[in-house]
């Protein structure tokens, strides 16, 4: 049946090239999943073939097992959610023993997200991941809102709020690994360009923008905060415009690529980030609602390229018309 009758748009016969090289990491498409929203991959492999994603980013891994914060840790807010998980994770040993082999067997491109209390912990984590072949790239989480003293609001609570510390941490991790190194930054800063440039100067191959925005919610009947941690990190579509703007800001000053994230639910959201200047995107909280949301984004981005006759996905990067 002709397109005018079925209402389907005429699709270009060419097959667009979705592959990218993200600061040295070869990806079959630009779509990954955000750390903390996809477990260690295996959990969602029951719903779709996770090897079809550009990459899978693990839950933050620390040297030791972490139980995380006291419950309640999660509260829903308009068009999003606040969490204060506190980096609960299985620890690097269990990851290497139980989680990485599964991802390797599946042929997944692995971005291992790491978290430590000091540069030397990040160094050890990166070294072990590279030595064991358990990661294709490292993403250093310098921006968790739910550890340290975030609730005190007296001065910086996250490493990536201080550009000098970003440079110091990045330089240390850089010296420990040859794997592509991405630095995940917090949006809770005055000017996102400062920590982003510091990561670049420290030798990072890319930055991940953005981690969650600090927020809180209060039960008006009990007058208690809804999270036991009092404050938490806001994610979901509510934060997307903030994230797109930060990507746009950073893209104009950085030479290294950006992994854009923050409220991506559908392909159009991902394309927004690409147009703003992100080279890659990550689906986050939407996987909670729709486990295969990231795969749908891959398919949707491909359909968009066909519909607009765009040969490679890289052509979209920074292609905003202003």
């Amino acid at each position: 049946m002709p397109g005018w009758l079925t209402g389907k748009p005429t699709i270009s016969p060419m097959t667009p090239d979705l592959s990218i090289n993200l600061g040295g990491l070869a990806m079959k498409n630009p779509v990954m999943v955000a750390s903390g929203t996809f477990g260690y991959g295996q959990e969602y492999d029951r719903y779709f073939d996770i090897s079809k994603l550009g990459a899978v980013c693990t839950k933050s891994l620390s040297l030791n097992v972490r139980a995380g914060n006291k419950p309640p840790r999660l509260v829903e807010t308009p068009a999003g959610l606040l969490n204060a998980i506190g980096l609960q994770n299985v620890g690097i040993d269990a990851y290497l023993r139980e989680k990485a082999p599964y991802l390797r067997k599946k042929g997944v491109t692995i971005v291992a997200n790491i978290y430590g209390h000091a540069p030397d912990e990040y160094v050890e984590l990166a070294r072990r991941l590279e030595a064991e072949g358990a990661a294709d790239a490292i993403e250093a989480n310098l921006s968790c809102p739910n550890v340290h003293n975030a609730k005190l609001a007296t001065g910086p609570s996250m490493v990536s709020q201080v550009p000098e510390q970003v440079a110091e941490y990045t330089t240390s991790i850089r010296s420990a690994t040859k794997l592509p190194l991405f630095i995940k930054l917090t949006p809770n800063v005055v000017n996102i360009c400062e920590p982003a440039l510091a990561a670049q100067e420290g030798g990072a191959n890319g930055v991940a923008l953005i981690n969650t925005l600090l927020g809180m919610a209060i039960d008006t009947e009990t007058r208690r905060p809804k999270l036991a941690n009092i404050v938490g990190g806001l994610s979901g579509p509510a934060i997307r415009p903030v994230a797109v703007k930060m990507v746009w800001d950073a893209a104009r000053v950085l030479k290294i690529p950006i992994i854009g994230m923050g409220g991506i639910c559908i392909a159009a959201d991902a394309i927004e980030f690409l147009l703003a200047g992100a080279s890659s995107v990550a689906v986050g909280s939407m996987s909670f609602r729709q486990p295969d949301a990231s795969l749908r984004v891959v398919e949707g981005v491909e359909a968009y390229l066909r519909q607009h006759g765009i040969p490679t996905v890289s052509d979209l990067v920074g292609a905003i018309r202003v």
Partner: protein, 269 residues
């Protein structure tokens, strides 16, 4: 294995003020679901509310299942507006159901408020496997909030009613009624309701030498073990096991495993 399927609303009825039963057509889910498991229901097309709602199966039929719920917030308000014939996305079955064992001498269900929602299916499963109807303690704040009394009686269960205000049955808490039923070794008690009610019920059961299973409720983002948002503290001492996920480690737990002392009841709804 869980599925994500569009289910047709078959019937949808308000049983009591603010308390609803919805029947959903979903063969892929119904054919695998067990009593005590739950589904994640997508109540909104858009992003408010953003997350699916975890709801346990009330009864499981060949190709459909029912869900009982209470109007609480925006999610249940939207759910309550679904009409027969409309489609709703459900992910499930999720979590671990109730173990059904026939070698126990006595089964007592203790339901508090909307916590009853998980029990009609359990009663059916117990009758089928053990050939004997469980006893049921139905407790709520007031008469209007007592659900499923007739359902349990029709199954042949002996039902004990209790309300906080004495408007139906005894003026007593569920745990006090259970105490008078004298649970003993060989008895298994199944409890679902507010955390404080489950703590008291399990205390009574365990002190009497009975077994006690509790079905917990929590805010969840994923329902599938990923977000780590729904944890409660367990009595495990190791760092890796201290937090147990209501979604995939439960929602049914041996009451002895839950660290009731560590739980902060002030945050409960």
């Amino acid at each position: 294995m869980p599925h994500i399927v569009n289910c047709e609303v078959l019937t949808h009825r308000e049983l009591a003020p603010g308390q609803f039963r919805v029947a959903l057509q979903g063969p892929a889910i119904a054919s695998e679901a067990k009593a005590g498991q739950f589904g994640m229901i997508e109540v909104a097309r858009g992003y408010y509310p953003f997350l699916r709602r975890p709801m346990c199966f009330e009864r499981i039929l060949a190709d459909a299942f029912t869900v009982l719920y209470k109007l609480e917030g925006e999610g249940t308000r939207l759910l309550s507006a679904f009409l027969p014939g409309q489609m709703i996305s459900v992910q499930g079955p999720l979590g671990n159901g109730f173990p059904i064992e026939s070698n126990l001498t006595r089964h007592i269900i203790v339901a508090g408020g909307i916590g009853v929602a998980t029990f009609p299916g359990l009663a059916e499963a117990l009758i089928k496997v053990c050939d004997t109807a469980p006893e049921v303690v139905l407790a709520a704040r007031t008469k209007d909030l007592l659900l499923c009394e007739q359902d349990f009686r029709e199954m042949g269960c002996k039902v004990h009613l209790a309300t906080d205000d004495g408007s139906a049955g005894e003026k007593a808490y569920a745990s006090q009624v259970l105490e008078r039923l004298s649970p003993a070794p060989g008895t298994r008690v199944y409890a679902c309701g507010p955390m404080i009610m489950m703590r008291e019920t399990s205390r009574v059961a365990l002190e009497a030498g009975a077994e006690c299973l509790v079905s917990l409720e929590a805010q969840m983002a994923c329902g599938d073990g990923v977000c780590l948002g729904c944890v409660v503290e367990s009595k495990h001492e190791s760092e890796g096991e201290r937090m147990i996920r209501v979604c995939c480690d439960g929602p049914v737990f041996d009451a002895r495993m839950v660290d009731w002392e560590a739980h902060n009841f002030a945050y409960d709804p």
